[in-house]
């Protein structure tokens, strides 16, 4: 087995482990931290079903962002929806036989990469062009966008220009999944693509990418507006009642 294969196999095991463990810890941490007060941004749904609907609109349509700024919404939505299709398309490297619906999504996913990169370039351009956004941007904000753009661009290069050996690639990933490491195809573009994906997985749980799980725990969005009807008390706050 080549050194490159060992490095990439190790990299993906570590990246996956840290991604899963890191996210699991964060989700555990968010869920154990109490929300002592009812703070939904109103008008808010009065029932749990309503909350699910509100959250769905937020996650699928970026409703609040739509209200806020149409440019960020367009670029942000193109990027995220493109990314979703691209990710679904990538499932074919991890399933055997490939799930039927992945085959349906697959051709769309191919072109979704364009949506994704266009969205990302738009978001990056805003960081340079809008003085307010420039002011709040940290180096990591730029680098994160660049990282994902390079991942997307390298992927597109392999899809549209210089095809890589996807059969061998699938063998490599299926091998990783069944702990039977197979050689990674030694295509430089692919190796760049994979290395950057692993890097993204590594930084996910310690970066602003935590917005993905975070949105579901946001009390202004996930609480029902029913404080007069139901008494809502956190454990640490309930102890105060006992003193009276």
């Amino acid at each position: 087995m080549s050194t490159v294969t060992i490095i990439y196999a190790g990299l993906f095991y570590i990246a996956t482990l840290l991604l899963v463990a890191g996210l699991a810890y964060k989700i555990f941490d968010y869920s154990r931290t109490p929300a002592p007060l009812k703070i939904p941004t109103t008008p808010a749904p009065t029932t749990q079903t309503g909350v699910v609907y509100r959250m769905a609109k937020e996650v699928v349509l970026f409703e609040s962002l739509f209200k806020s700024n149409k440019w960020i919404w367009v670029f942000g939505w193109l990027f995220h929806f493109g990314l979703l299709l691209v990710l679904l398309r990538h499932l074919r490297y991890f399933t055997e036989p490939v799930w039927f619906w992945v085959n349906i999504v697959q051709p769309f996913g191919k072109y979704a990469s364009i949506m994704m990169v266009v969205g990302l370039i738009g978001l990056l351009a805003r960081r340079f062009l809008v003085d307010r956004v420039r002011y709040i941007s940290t180096p990591s904000d730029y680098l994160m966008l660049v990282l994902i753009i390079v991942i997307g661009a390298s992927g597109m290069l392999m899809t549209f220009v210089a095809h890589t050996d996807i059969v061998a690639l699938k063998t490599f990933f299926m091998g990783l999944m069944y702990f039977d490491v197979q050689p990674v195809p030694q295509d430089p573009i692919l190796l760049v693509h994979l290395a950057l994906v692993a890097l993204l997985m590594l930084i996910f749980p310690i970066s602003k990418l935590l917005h993905a799980p975070g949105v579901f725990f946001s009390p202004t969005r996930n609480q029902a507006d029913n404080p007069r009807e139901n008494r809502h008390v956190a454990a640490w706050a309930a102890r105060l009642d006992q003193k009276n």
Partner: protein, 507 residues
């Protein structure tokens, strides 16, 4: 007044997003609370040698107690959606008044001390050590936020800067940098019973005077009862309603409504204040202590209903938090809450807003009004931030917008809304909320009022609006002080019940 001179912004045709000008509001520093005030609150009054450790320890404590803080500090992606949403940014153009930048003042410290990335690569992720300069920035800019939540409407993750500001103020208090205005008031409300420090005898004298005025004016003996055991309704209203113009006019309005409907009611000397500045400070226990006065008064007087007067942040605390803090509400199964809840009349929401009460009475015909008595007025309505984005009225989401408007329209004939993106959930704060209603922040207040004044100016030009109704004591005080700076008459602002008061039939 030795207050610094500053330019009054020019009103444009529409609300402009300014180019940013760094540091232009860095000088705006509200007075620090002196020793006696901090002593009473149990806070130090100056920085100790270990202030930094103490601040970080408090921050860790809050991160463990408030999911909002933890999630909001993690989730922001710096997308910029909020950058043009804060009235203080729009009015001052200081970039640290952009919600995300205000949050980042704390987020940079959070990243440095509480996250892996910030511990390893501080420069890369914009993490910063907690220095005295950073702490001073906290003090200045966490007192240029009115906790109005407008940014939270537009954030894709619902990040509410108010939560960060509250945590910031809590940490500042903890290390000895309290704000004089808010903390002095929190002392008075706990020692005397209201924010103004109006002692019982003065309150009685004031109410008697008002009864004389109403009778002289209408010929009807409308009463303003206080500390009456066994009354049906306990009315809790901001103490400014006893003291200031135009606030008093709404108090007279409530009294007339109760009189006309034949509902027995009472005020309470012990709970002669609806406002709860514990909200602004972000300290749960302080907010709870202040709210407990209402519970105590309700139990003491044996009332069946609790109604809240025109006060924006008080309605947030009452509607959203009273049940949690004091058991005023429904649905509890603990002895602490049941003691009170079994006393309350289940036919009414608890607590109930005075607009809900009056509107029900008018719509059901139990009180009669003549809107033509307000024909000299062309009215618009300013949605107060805490009512709009942190509470509800009625049974449907959005009742906090429709009920006050329905009520206004039943007592006036001429009504026009301001521009859509400045009302309802997008309403602009008056500029004086959240503990900023103090003379030492006048520049912040005047400039922060610019977006609202711009929208008002447009309906004045287009529809000849001459009265802006609102249901918040802070809004009323802020506008009476600030509107004249923009060339408007101070008497063009007043309460919704000031309009009710003029239109109601009293026989």
């Amino acid at each position: 007044m030795a207050a610094a001179e500053f330019d009054i912004p020019e009103i444009k045709d529409y609300i402009e997003v300014p180019k940013l000008r760094e540091g232009v509001m860095a000088h705006a520093k509200t007075f620090l609370a002196p020793k006696p005030v901090q002593d009473f609150m149990g806070y130090p009054h100056e920085l100790a040698d270990n202030w930094k450790e103490s601040a970080l320890e408090k921050m860790g404590d809050l991160l463990g107690k408030y999911r909002s803080l933890k999630v909001f500090l993690d989730a922001c992606v710096h997308c910029g959606a909020c950058t043009d949403k804060c009235h203080y940014y729009l009015g001052t153009s200081d970039p640290k008044n952009m919600p995300v930048a205000r949050q980042d003042l704390m987020r940079q410290v959070y990243r440095r001390y509480f996250t892996t990335a910030g511990k390893l690569f501080p420069k890369l992720v914009g993490a910063k050590d907690l220095t005295k300069e950073v702490l001073d920035d906290w003090y200045n800019y966490y007192h240029q936020c009115s906790e109005c939540r407008r940014c939270s409407v537009f954030c894709p993750y619902g990040i509410d800067t108010a939560e960060i500001t509250m945590a910031g103020r809590e940490i500042l208090n903890h290390v000895g940098m309290g704000q004089k205005y808010s903390n002095e008031i929190l002392g008075k409300v706990q020692k005397i019973g209201n924010n103004l420090g109006l002692p019982g005898p003065a309150l009685l004298d004031t109410l008697e005077g008002l009864e004389e005025d109403i009778e002289a004016d209408t010929g009807v003996a409308v009463k303003l009862p206080i500390d009456v055991k066994g009354a049906e309704v306990l009315l809790v209203t901001p103490s400014a309603d006893f003291f200031s113009e135009p606030h008093v006019e709404s108090l007279i309005g409530y009294a007339k409504v109760f009189h006309a409907a034949g509902i027995s009611w009472t005020l309470s000397t012990h709970a002669s204040e609806a406002g709860n500045f514990g909200l602004f400070n972000g300290n749960y226990e302080t907010m709870r202590k202040v709210a407990m006065r209402i519970r105590d008064a309700a139990l003491e007087l044996g009332v069946k209903r609790i109604v809240v007067g025109e006060c924006g942040h008080a309605w947030r605390v009452a509607y959203s938090f009273w049940n949690t803090l004091t058991g005023i509400g429904y649905g509890a199964d603990d002895p602490f809450s049941i003691e009170l809840q079994k006393q309350l009349d289940p036919n009414y929401p608890q607590p109930q807003h005075i607009c809900e009460l009056t509107n029900d009475l008018i719509q059901s015909g139990r009180i009669k009004v003549d809107p033509s008595l307000n024909d000299d007025l062309i009215v618009t309505y300013h949605d107060s931030c805490n009512v709009a984005r942190a509470s509800r009225m009625g049974t449907e989401p959005g009742g906090q917008f429709t009920i006050p408007r329905e009520l206004i329209k039943s007592v006036v004939n001429n009504f026009h809304n301001m521009a859509d993106d400045t009302i309802y959930e997008s309403t602009f704060c008056c500029g004086g909320g959240g503990g900023l209603l103090t003379d030492d922040l006048m520049e912040v207040r005047v400039k922060g009022a610019l977006p609202r004044v711009t929208a008002l100016n447009n309906v004045v030009k287009e529809h000849k609006v001459n009265f802006m109704a609102t249901i918040c004591a802070i809004c009323k005080a802020q506008f009476t002080k600030v509107l004249p700076k923009y060339g408007f008459d101070m008497s063009m602002v007043g309460g919704v019940h000031q309009l009710v008061s003029k239109a109601i039939k009293l026989d």
